[in-house]
Symmetry: C2
Subunit: 340 residues, 2 copies
């Protein structure tokens, strides 16, 4: 194997402790020995063994990120690469490593998280809180582990998280539609187990209320995040509500499916029906007509979440421990004032 601290010590004619202190940057080392040791390390191509260090320091300088398979699938585009870029940019800045694991389902997600903490001994966890996985969070809180959520977890105070403003931005989207004059706006959402889904529904309701419109549950469809689902749910909606003039979908793929269904029905987007999506999938700007949607600062969310966690771990003062980042309404071609 590679050279150890003892080898360095021997070459530099000091004790291993001294080498260790040189590495740690202790100030009780004379300039002369400092240089001798550095030189020896250099000559030998010495790298300290992180495992040995972790063992005694009880800290691995590593954070864990557990992803459930479904999250990866759901987030793959464009979330995952972006949030990953954000996270790694700050782990790198702090000299930390990132340990990843992906799990099949929610019980396995919890197992993996605990194994990371207790077996691999990561110092903290970053959690993509897509769903209200109370069990995992409760365990983590009870055992006083350090972690921060990307997303939020209703019901538990005092959690560290960074989230986008789902409620407000959904509201913003609906405001935009009502201000254009739309009165009959459908909502294409996901399972209410998903927090984003819930929050965006709340924003939708707020927007309606603000415009003096009544909430009509027959205008709401709850499906999964596929184009297929969007297509079918819009077929159903048009049957129930032929006089629909706008659709707000909580994901762009859903919106795309909806647009397809609208076209197939012989109607025109945006002339007959306006469509607004969410997440600003790269597809949104390419599709014809280009999709009006909401862009989430996903890279920033990764950065802020990682930074918060590392500040906590380093004992630095965590200035804010619940951050919500603004999203942006991107107006493109799929929406206009109602013509009928």
């Amino acid at each position: 194997m590679g050279p150890t601290i003892k080898d360095v010590a021997k070459i530099a004619k000091v004790s291993p402790s001294t080498v260790s202190r040189v590495i740690a940057g202790s100030n009780r080392i004379s300039k002369a020995t400092h240089q001798r040791v550095r030189k020896a390390m250099e000559d030998l191509g010495y790298y300290p063994n992180a495992n040995a260090r972790s063992l005694v320091k009880n800290s691995t300088e590593t954070i864990g990120l557990v992803l459930s398979r479904s999250v990866v699938a759901a987030l793959s585009n464009p979330f995952f690469p972006e949030i990953f870029r954000g996270i790694t940019s700050v782990t790198q800045e702090y000299g930390y490593s990132l340990l990843l694991s992906s799990s099949k389902d929610y019980v396995q997600e919890e197992e993996e998280a605990l194994r990371m903490l207790k077996e691999r001994r990561v110092d903290g966890l970053l959690i993509l809180a897509s769903r209200a996985n109370d069990s995992l969070i409760e365990t983590l809180v009870k055992e006083k582990h350090s972690f921060v959520l990307v997303g939020r977890m209703p019901g538990i105070e005092e959690l560290h998280w960074v989230n986008n403003d789902n409620v407000q931005s959904a509201e913003k989207a609906v405001d935009y539609l009502t201000e254009l004059g739309h009165k009959k706006i459908a909502f294409l959402g996901g399972s209410p187990e998903l927090i984003v889904s819930r929050d965006r529904l709340i924003g939708y309701k707020n927007g309606l209320q603000k415009a003096g419109l009544d909430f009509d549950f027959t205008l709401v469809e709850e499906v999964d995040f596929t184009e297929e689902s969007g297509f079918k749910s819009l077929e159903r909606l048009l049957e129930r509500h032929p006089d629909l003039t706008a659709v707000f979908a909580i994901d762009d793929l859903l919106a795309l499916g909806a647009m397809k269904a609208i076209k197939e029905e012989g109607l025109i987007v945006p002339d007959d029906i306006s469509v607004v999506g969410f997440n600003d999938n790269p597809l949104a700007s390419y599709v014809v007509p280009a999709l009006t949607t909401i862009r989430i600062p996903i890279y920033d969310m990764g950065v802020q979440a990682a930074r918060m966690l590392l500040q906590k771990l380093k004992g630095e003062e965590v200035t804010e421990y619940q951050i919500v980042l603004d999203s942006e309404l991107i107006i493109r071609e799929s929406s206009m004032e109602p013509c009928r």
Copy 2:
């Protein structure tokens, strides 16, 4: 901190060695003690400390994946999530962890890789060999580290890698165009430093030769992988070759840019000019006209690469150590026989 092996030993009234052997599944342990120990572990909620174990076993059961920032950007869509899914599915199967790091540039990439191996002591490395980063590979070979490439590295034999059939599939695309009757086919490629770029150019040339067409370097543009580049390079090409009837681009974004330029020139895809892309970006099927392209089995590449590495690490027999996976030509609407 959590319970250690000694705590378990005390409860089960055995020595730590015995507990260790129970965990390791040694067959020299009586059924009775085995159960007593298991019970004690259960009761205490014991997790073995991976750091301590790694220290003595000199193996972390972890593999590293280093990504340069530019690779993440280039691969973000749809490569990164897909390959990640592939890799994690097998690391999980083998009970290994995945350590990630992303680096700014190619020199940092090398540093990070070596730090992972020597400091964090990962057992092996997975490398996305987008570019001929000889220096890193040479070091790894010289120091006899275990690693496998996703992609290939020309010039060095005996490397372990899994790659898609860039040459053959590019050839396939060109065959398809020549069989339709195209005689003047432009090539939109990237920097020849990128191996994929080189290989696809070779395939292009092969295809031309097979059809009895001469290679004309004025039909070749070498640019970066952005839509903008595709747009501009096609403007240049159309000026040089107004009689162009087909374009083969080594990335879909390039192809999309090309299509835009063609439209802007008042020409129609595919009637006037056929366009074929590469990589099957999700955009390809949404754009109008839908883009003919080549789909790479990227998930499988992740699986195979990870499996190869883990087999190697586990001392299992590695059946194949250089795998090339077939790609598929997806014919959509952007290509047809030439009309002019």
